[in-house]
Every structure is written in structure tokens, then in C-alpha cells.
């Protein structure tokens, strides 16, 4: 059965930044299977097409939501939807962050830009069970303070350490300035017993994972989220290949031991 989108109603629409919007979605009829943090859906905008979007909120905690940055015809269309509009959704697809193995260990979340959105349900999951995990730290880098998403939540999350840094501060900014890797030295974690979860632009992922590995976090405990062109999400179209991986099937979340050799080859 070729996967056909399932109609979902936009029940809430929030503008996060000048370029991003978060849509909360509820099924019109039949519901999709439960998404795990890190997984993605193919989201259809009527008459424009489909794009892969990871979930920024899952059914279990707060309802299904996607945080969308308008960068093309489909994402522009999705960002322009209004409450009451219908979009199509199919999924869940791909691998998830997998918080379970991190039980009893420190959890280090590193996000670049809108990369915080796919990590959000993971953070909520870890914070919902404080006794189950060691120290939970959230490090976020953004271009400017105005580009930060989940800004209020960031202040409320009961983490061991939350660090936010921007490349370009504005006049009202009194926080950190610099790259997100700089915050790694300030987060409390024991490299031998830490699971790290990294999402953002690929160079930021590479720099962060390299730094973490150098600090002694084993590469297989550094989980990163990859992005490649996905057209079908079912492993049939070939577009999202990254060497041996079909990112829609074997990713998007993979261990750094797998990603590192692939991301080090240009134009792979």
C-alpha cells in the first residue's frame, strides 16, 4: 500500500520567529501511529507538495506539532496555513533519538538554530523523569536572539545547565555570544557516562561531535540527526542516499561512529 497522507487539522499556529511557525495538528479522522522524538513525517501542503518535517512535539506530550521554517514553496505554504486548515501527514518515518539507553547517564542536548525543534520532545522526555537520568544539559546556538525558538521554555526547563549563545547579539541581549561548542566546557557532564544528542546545520554537527569525542564521549553515544533530500520517505526513491545509508530509513538519527566517516567525504 503506497502511503497516502492522512488529513490533519491545524488546531494551533504560533509564530516562533520571523521565519518559523509551529503548527499543532490533530487528525481529522484516522490517527497516525505514535511518533518518537527524532522521527519525521511527510507533510503535504495542498497543491504544492510534500516535505519531510521532524516532530517538535509528539502525541503523548502536548500533541503532534511541527516547527517549520519557510524556505521554499511547500514550507512557505505550510507556514501560511491558518487554524482550521487541513494538511496531509504520513509517518512516522525514520529512526528516533532513543533516550532509553541514556537512563542513569548524563544527557547532553546540543542544538543549532531550528535544530532545537526536533530535540524538544527529547528534552521534555528526559525532564519528565528527572530521577531516571543524570544531569540534563541543553545548549543552544542561534544566529541572533530573534532567531531563538522555544525561548520561554528554555528559561523554564529544569535542567542542570541551560546555555544559550548567539552569533550576533542585539541591544537587548545580555547572554552569551559565540559558537555553541564554546558552551560545552560549561555544561556539567561526565564524558564516560554521557549520551549526547546533536541537531543543527551539518558543520555545527561536525564541530560539536568532534569536540565531544575529543572530550571523551564515545562516538556511538553521540547521536546526530542527518538531513538529505527526501522525496518518498519509504526507501524507494533513492534521493536521500548518504553512502550506504538511506537517510529516510537508516536515519535521520544515527550514531557519530556511523556519520563521521560519511560526513568527512565531500559531495558523498
Amino acid at each position: 500500500m503506497t502511503a497516502v497522507p492522512v488529513p490533519h487539522l491545524v488546531v494551533d499556529r504560533r509564530r516562533d520567529t520571523a521565519e518559523t511557525v509551529t503548527l499543532r495538528l490533530e487528525p481529522v479522522g484516522e490517527a497516525l501511529a505514535e511518533f518518537a522524538p527524532g522521527q519525521f513525517a511527510m507533510v503535504h501542503c495542498f497543491g504544492r507538495g510534500e516535505i519531510p518535517l521532524s516532530v517538535s512535539s509528539v502525541q503523548g506530550t502536548g500533541g503532534l506539532a511541527h516547527t517549520i521554517r519557510s524556505v521554499g514553496a511547500v514550507s512557505d505554504g505550510l507556514c501560511a496555513t491558518r487554524v482550521g486548515d487541513v494538511v496531509g501527514l504520513r509517518g512516522p518515518y525514520g529512526t528516533s533519538w532513543e533516550l532509553e539507553p541514556a537512563r542513569g547517564q548524563d544527557v547532553l542536548v546540543v542544538a543549532g538554530g531550528i535544530g532545537l525543534a526536533p530535540l524538544r520532545p527529547l528534552i521534555l522526555g528526559a525532564l519528565a523523569e528527572p530521577e531516571a537520568y543524570g544531569r540534563v544539559s541543553v545548549l543552544v546556538g542561534a544566529r541572533t536572539p530573534a532567531d531563538l525558538i522555544s525561548r520561554e521554555e528554555l528559561e523554564q526547563w529544569a535542567t542542570a545547565y541551560t546555555g544559550v549563545t548567539v552569533d550576533w547579539p542585539d541591544t537587548g541581549w545580555h547572554g552569551d555570544v559565540g559558537v555553541v561548542t564554546q558552551l560545552l566546557g560549561r555544561a556539567p557532564f561526565d564524558p564516560d557516562r554521557t549520551w549526547a544528542f546533536v541537531c543543527g546545520p551539518e558543520p555545527m554537527i561536525r564541530a560539536t561531535a568532534r569536540d565531544l569525542a575529543q572530550r571523551g564521549v564515545p562516538p556511538e553515544r553521540i547521536r546526530v540527526s542527518l538531513e538529505r533530500n527526501m522525496r518518498c520517505a519509504t526507501g524507494h526513491c533513492g534521493h536521500c542516499q548518504l553512502g550506504p545509508l538511506l537517510v529516510c530509513r537508516d536515519g535521520p538519527v544515527v550514531g557519530w561512529e556511523q556519520a563521521q566517516p560519511l560526513l568527512s567525504v565531500r559531495e558523498l
Binding site: T20, V74, G112, V179
Partner: protein, 157 residues
């Protein structure tokens, strides 16, 4: 000393040199908005932050002083003291209460001259800090977040 400072220096410097360096450290407790140095000033001291935040800034007439980068726990504040003509390239100001180790740069330079091994260890440590700062500055030059690249947040369409 906080574990994170131990860790940072430990990576950067062998234990005997680290201990020698820390022996001449002076513990300081600085109020917010304390200016540590100003661009063009004589670089005769440096700091390792134990707690709090220091902003590196640049004076631009008619404009709010732009913050170039912030430094926090474990970070080295100031490196111009190691290279002639020992003149600060940027300004530094505390943005929070800051507890730090303060070092007399002249004394450290003399120690480096007296003991070549120690000098090499200090040079390597500062060199490593500099390479990190350079890489960070380069990463920001690219304006990564400015491009649409960000995971599955709009994809190819």
C-alpha cells in the same frame, strides 16, 4: 577549583606545570561591569574564569559597544600578554559577578624564560585556546544559521 577548570587545564598542560602556574594565581572576586582591560592597554595580567561571564568587546564611537564573544567557566581571558608588544587587542568586561584566578603576566613570562619546558607548556596551552577562538570566529563568519540549512525544518521545499 571546579572540576571543569581542572579538566581544561589538564588537557592543555602537564600537571607539574599546571601546579606551578596556579601557585602564583591570585583569587579575585569581581563585581558585574568591572572592566578588566581596554583595547590598546598594556597586557600585564590574565585571568582564568572560575565562575561567571566576561564579555570581549570593541569600542565603536557612537554605537553601543559590540560584544564579540563571551567567556565563562574555565575560559582563559586575555592572551596578548604572551606576545610582544603586550598590548590588548580587544576590551574585556565582566557581565556578571565573576570569580577568577588572576595572574601576573610579567611573572609568568619570567617563569617561561627561566624554564624552557614550562614556557613551551604555557605556549602550547595559549596556542590551543587561540586555535579554538579562531575556529569559532571562522564558523561564525559562515553564518550557518542564516542559511536555510537546519534539520528537516523545511527540507528541499
Amino acid at each position: 577549583m571546579t572540576p571543569s577548570i581542572t579538566l581544561r587545564l589538564e588537557h592543555a598542560m602537564p600537571v607539574e606545570h599546571r601546579e606551578r602556574l596556579l601557585r602564583i594565581a591570585r583569587e579575585v572576586d569581581l563585581k558585574p561591569d568591572t572592566r578588566l582591560f581596554e583595547e590598546g592597554g598594556h597586557a600585564d595580567r590574565f585571568w582564568i574564569v572560575r565562575d561567571g561571564t566576561v564579555a570581549l568587546d570593541m569600542h565603536v564611537p557612537g554605537r553601543r559597544t559590540p560584544v564579540i564573544e563571551t567567556l565563562g567557566t574555565g575560559d582563559l581571558v586575555g592572551w596578548s600578554w604572551l606576545f610582544e608588544p603586550y598590548v590588548w587587542q580587544l576590551g574585556a568586561v565582566t557581565t556578571t559577578r565573576v570569580r577568577a584566578y588572576e595572574f601576573d603576566a610579567v611573572a609568568v613570562r619570567l617563569m617561561c624564560d627561566d624554564d624552557a619546558e614550562f614556557g613551551r607548556a604555557v605556549g602550547r596551552w595559549v596556542g590551543r585556546v587561540l586555535s579554538h577562538r579562531l575556529n569559532a570566529a571562522r564558523a561564525r563568519l559562515v553564518d550557518l544559521y542564516g542559511s536555510p540549512a537546519a534539520f528537516l525544518s523545511g527540507g528541499a521545499g
